[in-house]
């Protein structure tokens, strides 16, 4: 399916607006005193959930290509990944500021003592180099290393699921659903890799994506 460049611009603008909705919702609920009895927990969970959702959406662009042969959506991958980074930044800010009021000693203790926080924190640290290199300059500079570096996203995804799994008290239904989605997404890639025996996963930016950068 061919899609014109101005369509991509339009789609990207639409994603921008949609991606801001979860934040807009929190602001709205917050200004209407409607964030439940425990607003900090509410915001922490909401931003955490949206981080994971954007991560999974980002990871689904390539499987869609593999399954359908449609390629244009792969150009959205980088932008979606950056939205995930946006929400994880809100998530950790909520934690550091609203939850722990910048009490660094308590934060350090909480991170090292609790497996689910260590895992979440590691996932966050790993997203930093990915976000930092998500621009055309770094893509060109790192060449094939860019692809290798960005394979970290799989590690991040697995850590994120563990983070969710370990933080729920007893009812793992919700993390299970997210884990199942990740399992399917990774399964599709592995299956295609197996089909082609040689690595078929395209982590490098597509030509179309490169063209959009050059056009900027």
């Amino acid at each position: 399916m061919a899609i014109k460049k101005q369509h991509i611009v339009f789609i990207k603008a639409a994603i921008w607006l949609l991606a801001l909705l979860p934040l807009a919702r929190l602001v709205w609920l917050g200004t209407h005193d409607d964030l439940s009895a425990n607003p900090v927990e509410f915001v922490e969970r909401s931003t955490g959930t949206w981080t994971l959702v954007f991560l999974l959406i980002t990871l689904s662009m390539t499987p869609i290509r593999l399954l359908t042969g449609i390629v244009w959506q792969v150009q959205l991958r980088r932008m979606l990944g950056l939205w995930m980074f946006f929400y994880v930044c809100l998530h950790i800010s909520t934690y550091v500021w609203l939850d722990y009021s910048f009490l660094w000693a308590d934060i350090v203790k909480d991170i090292i003592k609790h497996p689910y926080v260590i895992v979440g924190f590691s996932a966050f640290l790993l997203t930093i180099p990915l976000a930092a290199t998500s621009n055309s300059y770094m893509i060109k500079r790192l060449k094939t290393n860019w692809k290798k570096l960005h394979q970290l996203v799989y590690v991040i995804a697995i850590l994120a699921i563990l983070h969710f799994w370990w933080l729920v008290k007893k009812d793992v239904t919700e993390p299970f659903y997210y884990a199942a989605v990740l399992f399917v997404l990774l399964g599709i890639r592995l299956y295609y890799r197996y089909l082609h025996t040689k690595p078929a996963i395209k982590m490098r930016p597509t030509n179309a994506e490169m063209q959009t950068h050059q056009a900027k």
């Binding site: 909705l21 609920l29 439940s36 009895a37 915001v43 308590d106 609790h114 007893k170 009812d171």
Partner: protein
Amino acid sequence: MIILNQSKLNPSNIQPSEITPREVFDNRRYFLKAAGFGLAAGSALLFSTKVRAAAAVSGGVTEGAGRLIGRANGPVVAEKMAFKAGTRQKISGYTKTAYGEGEKLSKYEDITTYNNYYEFGTGKADPAVQATLFRPRPWTISIEGAVKKAKTISIEDLLKLAPLEERIYRMRCVEGWSMVIPWVGLPLASFVKWAEPTGNAKYVEFISANDSLSMPGVRSPVLDWPYTEGLRMDEATNPLTLLAVGLYGEYLPNQNGAPVRLVMPWKYGFKGGKAIVKIRFVEKMPLTTWVKAGPSEYGFYANVNPNVDHPRWTQSSEKPIGGGLFGGRIKTKMFNGYSEQVAQMYAGLDLTKNF
């Protein structure tokens, strides 16, 4: 609820779930109207959490209706229901006490919409919505085990065992948040005296209701039902230990453990079994629900202790509910600040091991 209770139908022939309460019926009209708004209804879902809460407080709606409201363009419907089906009932004749004088109370709305009560779902907002089919009357509690004579007591008689008192207690959840709740109840000690345990009674076991019809949560095996809690005899007869039957001067809302629940303010909240149906005096330490669920995380004692961390949550500080987004945390106190009344019971016990 109102309809179900007043109905002349023979209740044994008809499952409550088969009856459409009038509220639901009436409100279908509202629901349709709301649905007509289309986008508006969608954004109501996105932009309000209060609809659920309001539906919850209203009581007297079926689980289905609660969900319906939660999803419809809520406020109009929910308010109407709160007005019609309000089941809040004042308790007459309880005395105020000095317990917790001067503490700032958590809001009624927070206490009744933010609950851990897995029999009605694992989300904090679930119980308020899902507990509406639950019926706290008629109610009897059976007393078994190491007692002079096994017997039962109705909730009405229980209410007369001792004068009802209001006590303001801090409640600290193992998850790191806390509230201040004005309970109404009677000392468990007076109940124990009435139950006449024998010399073999070393522990008391509390068993909660486990009714899959009115408690949707027990249909899923998240915990080993029925919910079971326990206390050592000296803990059970400690003057602080309360059999609560109300809060804020009213009979307990279903989601808070109606008709009768335990409150031990120096222990994490999960020790306080709700909707108690059976009390058993035993010789051996009972195997309680959360200990069964995670023996490395939850202990039998579960005393609030800022020095013993939980694998998931920091216990040295807590988040008071009601502080809003920027309220921050406060330091957690040993035995939740009730050391004076309870510390002597644990002298010589290694609280790191017996957490």
